[in-house]
């Protein structure tokens, strides 16, 4: 085996950016996040495979740092909150408390907890848009929601959505 620091460089594990496209509705978070976006992830009741898929985003194949996407350890340091799974009753208060900790401006990406058909994220709140949030309607402000990913998206789907949120180029 070659000298450890060169091992990764030789293997060229990182994939081309072109493979990441999302068919799901997302909107841009704001121009100031184009070069750097910090993400905090919470599990509001998923079956843990979404946690594994998010963990896989740290793999060299995805290399999220090249896009300026970083994972934060606290909501206070984050620009985007990712919520995994439908909110369980026991975790609803904790979800609300976490949203309240996010510094303005921020966005919320809901993964796996919204029944289809998916609403289109919009920067203006209406009663209909609140209704579309389903189990999240008392927990998050629809104005803050920048995207919805249904089911169990893989890391490439999640990265595609993050890039679209960062750059404003939803597929």
């Amino acid at each position: 085996m070659v000298f450890w620091p060169f091992y990764g460089a030789i293997r060229r594990l990182t994939e081309k950016e072109a493979v990441y496209t999302t068919p799901f509705p997302v909107r841009a978070l704001g121009r100031q996040f184009r070069r750097s976006m910090h993400v905090f992830v919470i599990d509001s009741g998923c079956d843990n495979i979404l946690n594994f898929n998010v963990a896989a985003l740290s793999a060299p194949q995805y290399n999220t740092h090249r896009f300026g996407i970083f994972f934060a350890d606290t909501p206070r340091h984050a620009d985007l909150l990712i919520v995994l799974g439908p909110p369980l009753t026991s975790l609803r208060a904790a979800v609300s408390a976490t949203v309240a900790q996010m510094p303005e401006p921020f966005g919320i990406l809901l993964i796996g907890g919204i029944p289809e058909p998916l609403p289109a994220p919009h920067s203006v709140q209406t009663p209909a848009r609140v209704q579309q949030l389903g189990p999240f309607q008392e927990l998050v402000d629809p104005v803050q929601v920048v995207g919805f990913l249904p089911g169990v998206p893989g890391p490439s789907d999640i990265l595609a959505a993050l890039l679209a949120i960062q750059r404003g180029a939803s597929a």
């Binding site: 091992y7 599990d43 079956d47 594994f52 898929n53 194949q61 026991s90 975790l91 893989g154």
Partner: protein
């Protein structure tokens, strides 16, 4: 040693799920006490209780933290450095899945079972399928059995890689963690190539056929994981910083842990060679991996050796499986199950699987092909209890190594 790992109520009689070495069976209640109190408390708080004293406070960790990705609450009682006792709240992810199965058809229930814990989905789904097939006395074709074994072993590979990656990250071994992350992602993609879904899930029993070219590809890719992991693992053992964080951390007392339901690699790292795979006739030459040190390093080493074994088992099982005979075998199984469509008889069946973190067992009571009641024994309940017992006396900086080395999941424990 017979160990109680689960309880079940069928109409008005109680049953116990008991593991003895490589076999799991149903027994009448009252024979073994051991883990009963843990099983009865698993919808709430387990651990070793609160501690009071001068300067002692409750450090509540969770449910959302940067350090642990899953939602769960752990109360550490400490005066600021050494951990005096631990309480773990398993209620946050309790979804009532067992109760929700009642009245469902066996196929509807299968989808819910797969969603109990995504990273142990193959183990839960196969254990559930075995319980149903045992209740209905259905003969499972060999091709289906081999496909299931391969699915479970791929699940073991990516779960073990995940655990070792998390340990490397906790020890600031970022280069190692990145390479393990690449292998972890490869293993997840292999599961998608074999079954159509990352994380396998219900595909472990419902996939009709392996895509024609996937078999050879899967074997080649698993072989690459084995070779690459061997190099990385050898290199990692040369890092004294890494080893120092794991050696002597959160030592499990073997006898007590087994009595309290611990199974899987965490128990084998204590020198107790209990592994359900040693009773599987289709896995040839299987050797149970054990260590004696019972610390976080021994648990990591046990998992590392099991990755090599699991790669060999996948290659062997896939090599004996072609897409044609799997599809035929699955039709045969479906036809056998269909014979019971109009049969309302009451039956009970038990199925068990060696999941990546220990024994998963499902006990189902069927009325015809509908679920009357179902109970699951999930390894994370006992894994969390063992963690709580083992981490006492350690200091706070040992916590990530301690908890990750058990490979436990709140979704699995919460059900």
């Amino acid at each position: 040693m017979s160990v109680l790992i689960g309880l079940h109520k069928d109409i008005d009689r109680e049953m116990e799920i008991v593991q003895d070495g490589a076999s799991v069976s149903i027994q009448k209640p009252g024979g073994i006490s051991g883990a009963r109190s843990i099983i009865e408390k698993r919808d709430g708080v387990i651990g070793n209780g609160p501690t009071a004293g001068e300067g002692v406070f409750d450090f509540r960790y969770g449910p959302f933290t940067g350090g642990y990705p899953e939602a769960g609450i752990v109360h550490y009682y400490t005066y600021g450095e050494r951990i005096l006792s631990v309480e773990i709240d398993l209620s946050n992810k309790h979804r009532g899945i067992e109760a929700s199965l009642a009245g469902k058809s066996v196929s509807e229930a299968g989808a819910l079972v797969a969603g109990l814990c995504g990273n142990f989905a193959a183990a839960h789904t196969v254990a559930y399928a075995r319980a149903v097939e045992s209740a209905l006395n259905v003969e499972v074709p060999e091709a289906v059995q081999r496909f299931r074994i391969a699915a479970i072993e791929i699940e073991r590979i990516y779960n073990h890689l995940y655990v070792i990656m998390r340990l490397a990250n906790a020890a600031a071994q970022k280069v190692l963690a990145a390479h393990l992350g690449a292998l972890f992602e490869d293993a997840m993609r292999i599961s998608a190539a074999l079954t159509g879904t990352r994380g396998i899930g219900a595909a472990a029993i419902t996939a009709d056929e392996i895509p024609s070219s996937a078999g050879t590809q899967v074997a080649n890719r698993v072989g690459t994981i084995r070779r690459t992991f061997a190099k990385l693992h050898d290199r990692s053992l040369a890092s004294r910083n890494y080893l120092d964080r794991l050696h002597g951390t959160s030592i499990v007392r073997a006898q007590g842990a087994q009595e309290r339901g611990l199974t899987g690699p965490s128990l084998r790292a204590c020198g107790i060679g209990a592994d359900l795979r040693s009773g599987e006739s289709l896995i040839s030459g299987f050797k149970v991996r054990t260590k004696t040190e019972a610390d976080a390093f021994a648990r990591m080493e046990t998992r590392a050796e099991e990755i090599f074994d699991a790669c060999g088992i996948v290659i062997d099982q896939i090599g004996q499986l072609s897409s044609g005979n799997l599809a035929t075998a699955k039709r045969s199984l479906a036809n056998q199950l269909a014979q019971y469509a109009n049969d309302g008889s009451h039956r009970v069946g038990l199925g068990a699987v060696e999941s990546p973190s220990g024994t998963v067992a499902w006990l189902v009571s069927l009325d015809g092909v509908r679920i009357g009641s179902a109970s699951v024994s999930s390894p994370s309940v006992f894994g969390f209890q063992a963690y709580a017992d083992a981490v006492v006396g350690n200091i706070f900086t040992d916590v990530p190594f301690a908890i990750e080395s058990f490979g436990v999941s709140f979704a699995d424990a919460g059900r």
